[in-house]
C-alpha cells in the first residue's frame, strides 16, 4: 500500500523503484513497473526492460546512449541508440557507443570480466551534457560526456582512452573502491589512466613500446597547443602553454605534491600524484615488452583486486610484487621488473617472505597550495 501510494505520487526515486521490481509481492512489482514506465525515465527504463533486466541476460554488451539535449542533468535525457541499433546521425552518440563497446570488449577478452561489476552491468552513456561542458565523469552508475567548449576542448566522446578511463573508475568502484583522497585517490586516478591507455592500445593493437602513453590527446581542439591531459611516459610534459598552465604531474616520489584534501586541492592531488604510479606502470610494461595488457596489465589488475579503499602507493606496489612472484616466480623477469619500476619512481616495496625491504629513501614532499 505504501509502495503503491508512493509510486503514484512519484516521490520514490528510480533506483528504489527498480529494487521494488524484485519484490516478492506481485502488486508492489506491478506498481513499481507501472510507475517506472510512466515517469520521465520512461524511455530509459523501457529500454532497460527490453534489453535484459527481466530476462537477466548476462555476458552480453548492453549499451544505451542517451542525449541530455544540453541540459545539466540526466532525468530528461532521451535514448538515442541501444545495443545493436544502427548508427545515428549524431557523432557523439556513435563515439560513445563505440567507446563503451571497445571498453566492454577489452575487459571481456583480456580479463574475462563481465562488464564493470562482473555481473553484466548495463553501460549507459549520456552525451551532450550541459552547454560547452568541459568534462567527462563517472557518477557511480553512468558515464557523462560534455561537448567541450570548442575553444580548448572538443567533444569528450572523441577519445577512447577517456572513455576507458571513466569506465575504469567503475571497475575500481566494484573492486578495491579506492577512496578518492590523497594516495588512494591518486591510485584510483592512476588505475583509470592505466585502464584507459590499455583500452586504446588494445583497440589499436599496439605494443607497449609503440604506444604514445598519452591520456586525452584526442579531446583538444585541433588548433590548440597541447598534447594531452597526462603523459604516462613522461609525467609533467603533457602540456605547457599560457592557457592551460604547465602539467604538474611528478614522475617520482621526491616530487610528490602535498596538497590539501579539498576540492581546490584536488582531494590531495589525485590528478597530480597519479603521475607516479602511472609512470611505474609504463616502466613495467615497456620493460616486459609485447602488449601492456598481457603481463603488466594482469599484475596491476590482480593487485587492484587485492587492495582496499585505503591502499596507498607502497601498499599497492607491494601487492604488485607479490602478484608477480605468485604468477611468474620469484626469479622471473616480471618480478624483477616490477621491483625495478617502483624503485625508479621512488616507491618502496615492503618486505615479503624471502625478501628484505629495499627502500628508496623517501624525499621531502613538495607543498602546494
Amino acid at each position: 500500500m505504501l509502495a503503491t501510494r508512493c509510486c503514484c505520487q512519484c516521490i520514490v526515486p528510480p533506483y528504489l523503484l527498480r529494487h521494488l521490481l524484485k519484490s516478492r509481492n506481485p502488486r508492489i512489482r506491478e506498481a513499481a513497473l507501472r510507475t517506472l514506465l510512466g515517469t520521465t525515465h520512461l524511455r530509459a527504463e523501457r529500454l532497460l526492460l527490453q534489453q535484459g533486466f527481466l530476462a537477466s541476460i548476462v555476458g552480453t554488451k548492453r549499451r544505451t546512449i542517451f542525449d541530455c539535449g544540453h541540459a545539466e542533468g540526466t532525468d530528461n535525457a532521451v535514448v538515442k541508440r541501444g545495443e545493436g541499433a544502427p548508427k545515428t546521425q549524431d557523432k557523439s552518440v556513435n563515439n560513445a557507443y563505440d567507446g563503451l563497446g571497445y571498453t566492454y570488449d577489452f575487459w571481456k577478452a583480456v580479463f574475462q570480466r563481465n562488464s564493470i561489476d562482473d555481473k553484466g552491468m548495463r553501460l549507459d552513456g549520456y552525451v551532450h551534457y550541459g552547454k560547452a561542458y568541459n568534462n567527462a565523469f563517472w557518477n557511480g552508475r553512468q558515464m557523462i560526456f560534455g561537448d567541450g567548449d570548442g575553444v580548448l576542448f572538443s567533444d569528450f566522446t572523441g577519445s577512447v582512452d577517456v572513455i576507458g578511463h571513466e569506465l575504469g573508475h567503475g571497475i575500481t568502484q566494484y573492486t578495491a573502491n579506492l577512496a578518492y583522497h590523497n594516495q588512494s585517490g591518486a591510485l584510483n586516478e592512476s588505475m583509470s589512466d592505466v585502464f584507459g591507455s590499455m583500452v586504446k592500445q588494445w583497440h589499436l593493437g599496439q605494443a607497449a613500446k609503440a604506444a604514445d602513453w598519452l591520456i586525452g590527446s584526442d579531446i583538444f581542439t585541433p588548433g590548440h597547443e597541447g598534447d594531452a591531459l597526462r603523459s604516462m611516459k613522461a609525467p609533467g610534459t603533457a602540456y605547457d602553454n599560457p592557457d592551460m598552465g604547465k602539467d604538474p604531474q611528478p614522475a617520482h616520489m621526491k616530487d610528490y605534491a602535498k596538497m590539501p584534501d579539498t576540492d581546490e586541492g584536488d582531494w590531495g592531488g589525485v590528478h597530480v600524484n597519479s603521475g607516479i604510479p602511472n609512470h611505474a606502470f609504463y616502466l613495467l610494461a615497456t620493460a616486459l615488452g609485447g602488449h601492456s595488457w598481457e603481463g603488466a596489465g594482469h599484475i596491476w589488475f590482480e593487485a587492484l583486486r587485492q587492495s582496499d579503499s585505503k591502499t596507498d602507493f607502497a601498499g599497492f606496489a607491494s601487492r604488485t610484487y607479490t602478484v608477480a612472484i605468485s604468477r611468474y616466480g620469484p626469479t622471473s623477469l616480471e618480478a624483477a621488473s616490477v621491483e625495478a619500476a617502483w624503485n625508479q619512481v621512488g616507491v618502496a616495496i615492503a618486505a615479503t617472505p624471502g625478501r628484505r625491504s629495499r627502500t628508496p629513501k623517501p624525499a621531502k614532499a613538495r607543498a602546494r597550495a
Binding site: N135, Y180, L229
Partner: protein, 103 residues
C-alpha cells in the same frame, strides 16, 4: 553584490581555469534581483553533500554583498536547481555585460 565563480576537478583537473566575476551593478534591476534571490536561496538551501564522484566537477561561489562575505559550494551531481541557475547566470549573464576574468 559581487559574485565570483570558481570551478574545480574534472578529468582535466590540473588544467588552469579562470574564475568568473559578476557584479550586480552590471545587471538590470530585474536580473540583479534574480541574482540576489538565487544567492539567498542557495545559502538557505545548500546542496546536500553526497560525496565526490571520480572526475566530478565542483564549484565555489564567493559572495561579497558589501556587508557580508561568504562562500557557497557544491558538486556537479548534487547541485540544486537554484545553484545550477546561479552558476549559469554567472557564466552567461543575461545582458552579456563586460565580465572580469581572474586567473
Amino acid at each position: 553584490m559581487r559574485v565570483r565563480l570558481k570551478a574545480f576537478g574534472g578529468i582535466a583537473a590540473t588544467v588552469r581555469r579562470a574564475s568568473i566575476v559578476l557584479d550586480d551593478s552590471q545587471l538590470d534591476a530585474a536580473n540583479a534581483a534574480r541574482l540576489r534571490r538565487l544567492v539567498s536561496s542557495v545559502r538557505v538551501n545548500p546542496p546536500r553533500s553526497l560525496g565526490i564522484h571520480p572526475d566530478e566537477m565542483s564549484y565555489a561561489v564567493d559572495v561579497d554583498d558589501g556587508k557580508d562575505h561568504f562562500e557557497l559550494r557544491g558538486h556537479e551531481a548534487s547541485l540544486t536547481p537554484d545553484f545550477r541557475e546561479l552558476i549559469n547566470m554567472v557564466r552567461e549573464p543575461p545582458q552579456s555585460p563586460p565580465r572580469s576574468r581572474e586567473a
